[in-house]
Symmetry: C2
Subunit: 282 residues, 2 copies
């Protein structure tokens, strides 16, 4: 596995691989890789001829009081994992290279970013869209892989790609969970042994909600009320949002007619955790 | 000259030209082409193997009370001019193709867009940056050509290209003027015969300002005062702004130490006209 630190070298490497007729797969990450990330890498390795993974903790997507300074990192572990899978390039640009002095340009996707996580984290999706566009322009991938845990992020990237006429396919892959159901997240390392059981409430609430829908419940309020009760039992858990909404626009739904997204964000100690599922009525 | 209406066909055409090893030159315009535009086209024809000109009146760069509805158009004349010069492709995308229903993504360049025209026309540079990025992504040019009359626009594009890691060179070309000094602009057609002489005040004011600097004047206030007096004499002219500022950031200067931009915008009847020059002290 080649490790590339410079934007120019990354560009040259991608151009060379393209000249050789290779299909380029790309997995942008913030590191501290877990099974969720690795499932994206494995899909890229299976679908593409040349796989690039980037690790860049992107400052522009963190708010003032968020965890930029303490965001977990494990570069030696990440390298070993990626090398073992057979990744071609690990791209590790510096903050100064990505955001040099005098940096001024930002990309915003409107409307869909005002809801769910965008409401709790103003500026988050602007930072995400900006860095992903930059990375796409540098790496020039044919296919880029994102996880469905961050479903709103996936939708923001897909919208940006369509709107800005970018020539990359964006693939969304299913959430990977711990054996007990907790969605994999780099921020799970924040959970203390006492907090860890409370974190299960997200998945429990989603499973219960999906069960209600399966049994004919259509009222968004009743579903959210049940979810709130499940999470309310956990003393370490504090709800940020629970939403039953449109799968594309994330606009709140009052009742589930055919298809809906159920999404939630919950703080458990220092960790802000998110999870979601799509429900369908027959 | 090939006329292309569809984004996909434009993309294919550019890819084909690139595959043939050609260097692609691109001149994005809003049509009603004048000698200023044509100087950009000629430079592209001289510097590149394959020249693409786009005509697209971009709605997102017009404000509520601006002249989107009445912006001048002369497609038959433009076609003849471009054909005569030997342009390879005229790209004419529709509004619906560029901004389909549900369009949501915008690019903003901060800081430098808050001054000069950005102050008088909020949203203008956001619209410009967004459409230029889209056109770059579709046309995939190696070099793109812009006029220095819109010096702030040129700087915005150059900043966007640098910040977003785009692989295109941006070339700025000198202002082209009528024999009497009026800077060429598609909006000059708005001027009535009575208003036309008033429009000369912009160039006169700039020439006088440059003369003052050459003779040792360093005070921005004195220079702007003189310019205001010259324009004030014209009954059809109404000053939007006059600025003596940094050539890169457009921040106001109190005195001219080495190099400065002198820029102004003046309304003459329905036409909002802009002009500028760079002055240097030895």
């Amino acid at each position: 596995m080649k490790i590339i630190y410079s934007i120019d070298e990354m560009r040259d490497q991608s151009r060379q691989a393209k000249d050789e007729g290779k299909v380029l797969g790309f997995v942008p990450t913030m590191g501290c890789l877990h099974e969720g990330h690795l499932s994206l890498v494995q899909r890229s390795l299976a679908a593409c001829d040349f796989t690039i993974v980037s690790i860049f903790i992107n400052p522009t997507q963190f708010g003032e009081n968020e965890d930029l300074e303490t965001y977990p990192a494990d570069l030696p572990g990440d390298r070993r994992n990626l090398e073992a899978l057979g990744v071609d390039v690990l791209f590790l640009p510096s903050h100064r290279q990505i955001y040099p002095d005098g940096y001024k340009t930002f990309v915003s996707v409107e409307d869909i970013t005002t809801r769910l996580c965008g409401k709790s984290r103003p500026g988050f999706f602007r930072g995400v869209a900006t860095v992903v566009l930059k990375l796409f322009n540098i790496v020039q991938p044919d296919i880029a892989f994102f996880g469905e845990k961050d479903r709103q992020q996936l939708q923001v990237i897909q919208t940006m790609v369509r709107d800005l006429n970018l020539q990359v396919s964006v693939a969304g892959l299913p959430i990977v969970r711990e054996p007990d159901g907790l969605a994999m997240s780099s921020r799970n390392v924040y959970l203390s042994p006492e907090q860890r059981p409370s974190a299960l409430a997200l998945h429990k609430a989603l499973k219960t909600a999906a069960g209600l829908v399966k049994n004919g419940e259509t009222s968004a309020n009743k579903i959210k009320e049940t979810m709130r009760r499940i999470i309310g039992r956990e003393k370490h858990a504090e709800i940020d949002y629970i939403s039953v909404c449109d799968t594309q626009t994330f606009a709140d739904k009052e009742s589930i007619d055919s298809r809906a997204l159920i999404a939630l964000a919950v703080r458990v100690g220092k960790a802000r955790l998110i999870d979601n599922c799509i429900v369908e009525r027959n």
